[in-house]
């Protein structure tokens, strides 16, 4: 028998969880469908031997402290989802092995960060301070736009919020250069580019600033029991609200009414589920593949064809049979690059020019048994980088060869012995993400946040980009781009919009 809900959410990734939490909290009958047997998408955990690994999260931003919560922290509080967050003291260590390279450690806190960078690049302080000040100004503009319900007075924008208009229109490096920031300071400050997947000569300034300021000023956090803890906390919020969550329930078809509005979804089992509103945490490309093409608006196809799939990764998870002290790792996050400039790193990514090594136990000392620690490597990989002719039977050898290369490189760069301490190893690649997330080419970052397709135009164009009635999107592929906090936020905002519509508002 066909089933009817107020809201069906497809996909229990971060965006889908937040969307289901919002709509169920508002009292609507909600069903969250997930093809895997646990929630979270990338936000989960897995066990090997005595280790429970964090699969994807590096640092969660915009949480804040209990007495001063920021967006992500407020979101968890709003849903009554309690998570044991642990705070970090340092933002990162960045090692650049180029001739003009460096090895720097940056402390968290705006003043610390400025002091540290000034010590490395004397004379950069003023431009760095101005950069953080710009970011604060941007937040004031956002508050103003919010206060006008998203319809700011254009004249006020030009007179009072010109810097916001500049920040959202120019690249990271254009803004930094306008501030007169020295090149070396720019390169160090732009170390985080990989978290957004676009080098900083193309990445939007506002987008990057918001993220960096959040890490530096508000401090970054990690959930004590891996991301699985956050996903289960949100799942509980949904079921406590009376929402249903079905696992092993893959959607294979989107159903439409004659007038082109979305009617519901069909499961692999054949069961059809109808709803007043359908929220997809699944990337539009996949939704189109599951839809009768006549119901997909032409503009959406053009948009999808104009976009490049976002980053995927090779990630290496190591359970080490020695402590972090015995290993000689002091930093939670170490960025290793072969070039100082992000564009060079991006262009040479297939030669191993940029990767991240995390040691979970620095943030959470007892994350693994005493006398052990965990390492987590993140190596960016685009769709075009994946070997096209690789055969399934060659896959294991290929992924191990990639892992070996980066493990050995990090041993050289850090001057430590890693190989002989590996007690557990797992290597994930775009194949792994294609398997578990079902995304095209195993992408994790949705669509690349290209210069022309940056955050503000995405947000402003959203109402005209996606026009199928009763169908909305959330997640890393949505307006705000990749990252846990962005995915949560789009889920919440999409959920809020759906609630307004269901209540008869506009």
């Amino acid at each position: 028998m066909d089933k009817h809900y107020d809201v069906v959410v497809v996909g229990a990734g971060n965006g889908g969880l937040a969307a289901a939490a919002v709509t169920s909290q508002a009292g609507f009958k909600v069903l969250l469908l997930e093809k895997h047997n646990i929630p979270g998408g990338s936000a989960s955990s897995f066990k090997r031997g005595r280790f429970e690994f964090e699969p994807s999260l590096h640092e969660l931003c915009a949480v804040g402290k209990p007495d001063q919560l920021f967006d992500t922290g407020k979101l968890f509080k709003r849903f009554g989802a309690e998570v044991d967050f642990r705070y970090e003291d340092n933002t990162f260590r960045a090692i650049c092995t180029a001739e003009d390279g460096y090895d720097v450690r940056m402390r968290a806190g705006e003043d610390n960060f400025c002091d540290d960078l000034e010590a490395i690049v004397p004379g950069c302080r003023e431009s760095l301070k101005a950069w953080f000040e710009l970011e604060r100004g941007d937040q004031r503009t956002l508050d103003y736009i919010d206060s006008k319900n998203g319809k700011p007075n254009p004249l006020m924008m030009i007179l009072k919020h010109g810097n916001f208009m500049r920040d959202t229109s120019y690249t990271v490096e254009e803004v930094q250069k306008a501030l007169g920031m020295p090149e070396k300071a720019r390169n160090i400050l732009n170390t985080y580019w990989g978290y957004l997947g676009v080098p900083t000569d193309e990445l939007n300034s506002f987008h990057y600033m918001t993220m960096v300021a959040s890490y530096v000023r508000d401090g970054a956090v990690m959930p004590y029991k891996r991301s699985h803890e956050m996903s289960l906390a949100l799942e509980k919020a949904i079921t406590d609200n009376g929402g249903d969550v079905w696992y092993n329930s893959e959607v294979v078809k989107f159903l439409y009414n004659e007038d082109g509005s979305c009617a519901g979804v069909q499961l692999k089992s054949g069961e059809k589920i109808y709803a007043k509103e359908i929220i997809s945490n699944v990337i539009p490309n996949n939704v189109y593949a599951m839809s009768d093409i006549k119901y997909v608006p032409e503009k959406e196809l053009r948009l999808a064809n104009s976009r490049t799939l976002g980053l995927s990764f090779v990630t290496v998870y190591l359970g080490m049979d020695c402590s972090k002290e015995e290993l000689g790792v002091e930093d939670y996050t170490t960025f290793i690059s072969k070039y100082a400039n992000p564009r060079e790193c991006y262009n040479h990514r297939n030669e191993g020019a940029y990767y991240v090594v995390n040691c979970h136990n620095v943030a959470i000392p007892d994350a693994s048994p005493e006398g052990t620690c965990m390492l987590f490597y993140t190596i960016p990989m685009m769709e075009e980088d994946f070997p096209k002719d690789l055969k399934p039977e060659e896959y294991k050898k290929w992924k191990n060869s990639v892992a070996k290369r980066f493990i050995e490189d990090s041993e050289k760069v850090l001057g430590i012995d890693i190989t002989s301490h590996i007690e557990e190893i797992e290597v994930a690649t775009p194949v792994t993400f294609a398997r578990y997330l079902g995304t095209p080419a195993g992408e994790i970052y949705g669509y690349q946040m290209a210069g022309w397709d940056s955050i503000l135009p995405r947000i402003m164009a959203a109402p005209t980009d996606f026009t199928v009635k009763n169908l909305s999107y959330c997640g890393g592929h949505a307006e705000r781009g990749d990252g846990y906090s962005c995915a949560y936020m789009t889920g919440m905002l999409t959920g809020d919009a759906v609630v307004r519509r269901l209540k008869g508002g506009k």
């Binding site: 208009m165 500049r166 994946f386």
Partner: protein, 400 residues
């Protein structure tokens, strides 16, 4: 002094953000989007990890009335055209219907990985006294039968970045099956490792695959097989058990080696004690899955409930059912006996495929097989395959 600000940048650019974006979108074609399965990474994911595989029994070889080897080929009538490649040591989870019971069983693949590319898998199955599945299989499966199996699964495999170059394999009884796959993979150059296999059997007649092992060992100098008989003595065989001394005798000298073991629980208990004497680092010791857990009452931390039976209320999607169960069976087994299909693969607490929510009631999970994630404990999640009810319970199970 120059003012540090961004006034040199033109704010009016903002007004053009959306129009110039729209222009780019309009200049692109409205062609259908490439399907996800056209990407190389998705193709490999699908080839290595199909949701399920339908196979047909092509051959049955009876080594004895209690041990048979089954050769499976793709059941093209049901849509399986190729078999997924695997790593030596992995298993298939076989789906069975026995009377009204629906169940799964994990069996190590005894054929080599390359054989899958040639279109066949082999499983060698030994009768377990009173075993529901093995009795059914040995007495019923015949050539031409169609069987549903999972993709190859399991983490009992050789990892060159983790394991020593030489693996000393300890096999007990039917625990020999994955090692035949390892030997084949080494002989074909699919795995770059050495294998010294200490294969424990009761008598000479109980040895499985002797001809095959001897043949492979003769043609490949990376493989050595030592037969160890516990209740017999024979030429070229060791007598006794898989002791520390025996391991030392055959392990490479002066270089590290890994120990991989597969066999019954009693063998693990004994071998773990022997390995402790060798002082191996834990990274060099690997166990294949422990298998289904029985007799929780033998554990000191188990308190037997007053009643031998209980009611399990189970919700799958929006359907709720109640079944009567024995407290001596795992929740998974009780559901299966009552014809409720539950997702399950390893049945040993490890893989988490049966991950289910305990809504109410008390349960017992033996610590040695408790493979749950940390947060599962806070949110009432259990693995029904190794969880015993201590009274009436209600659970939510994902659909199979």
């Amino acid at each position: 002094m120059k003012k540090v600000d961004i006034s040199s940048l033109n704010p009016a650019k903002f007004i053009k953000l959306v129009p110039s974006r729209d222009q780019i979108i309009a200049s692109n074609p409205a062609n259908p989007i490439p399907h996800q399965d056209t990407y190389a990474a998705n193709k490999i994911a699908k080839a290595l990890h199909p949701d399920k595989q339908f196979v047909k029994i092509a051959k049955v070889e009876a080594f004895s009335p209690d041990v048979k080897r089954y050769t499976f080929v793709p059941d093209t009538d049901k849509g399986t055209t190729a078999l997924a490649y695997f790593s030596a040591g992995q298993y298939l989870s076989v789906s069975l219907t026995v009377g009204k019971a629906v169940l799964t069983r994990p069996y190590s693949i005894s054929s080599g990985p390359a054989d899958a590319l040639d279109g066949f898998y082999q499983l060698t199955i030994k009768r377990v006294n009173g075993g529901l599945a093995t009795n059914y299989i040995l007495d019923n499966w015949k050539e031409g039968d169609s069987v549903e199996v999972s993709a190859p699964l399991g983490t009992f495999k050789y990892e060159p970045l983790r394991d020593a170059k030489t693996v000393v394999g300890l096999a007990g009884g039917s625990g020999i099956t994955p090692f035949l796959s390892f030997a084949r993979a080494i002989a074909k150059g699919e795995e770059d490792m050495h294998l010294t296999l200490l294969y424990g059997s009761r008598t000479r007649d109980d040895i499985l695959f002797k001809d095959e092992f001897d043949q492979i060992a003769q043609s490949c100098d990376k493989i050595k097989v030592v037969y160890v008989l516990s209740a017999d003595s024979a030429e070229n065989c060791e007598s006794g058990f898989l002791t520390a001394d025996l391991i030392k005798k055959y392990a490479p000298e002066g270089e590290p080696y890994s120990v991989f073991m597969c066999g019954p629980q009693a063998m693990y208990d004994f071998a773990d004690g022997e390995i402790a004497k060798l002082g191996l680092r834990s990274k060099f010791v690997r166990h294949e899955l422990f298998g289904e857990y029985h007799n929780p009452e033998r554990n000191a931390d188990y308190t037997a409930p007053a009643s031998e039976t209980c009611t399990i209320t189970v919700r799958v999607r929006d359907e709720k059912t109640s079944v009567t169960a024995s407290v001596n069976d795992t929740i998974l087994v009780s559901l299966e006996k009552n014809g409720i299909a539950v997702p399950a693969h390893c049945r040993s607490g490890e893989c988490g495929w049966c991950h289910s929510k305990l809504v109410s009631g008390d349960v017992y999970v033996p610590a040695s097989v408790d493979g749950r994630r940390l947060a599962d404990f806070d949110y009432g999640y259990i693995h029904p395959c190794c969880t015993f009810p201590l009274g009436d319970v209600e659970i939510v199970v994902p659909a199979k």
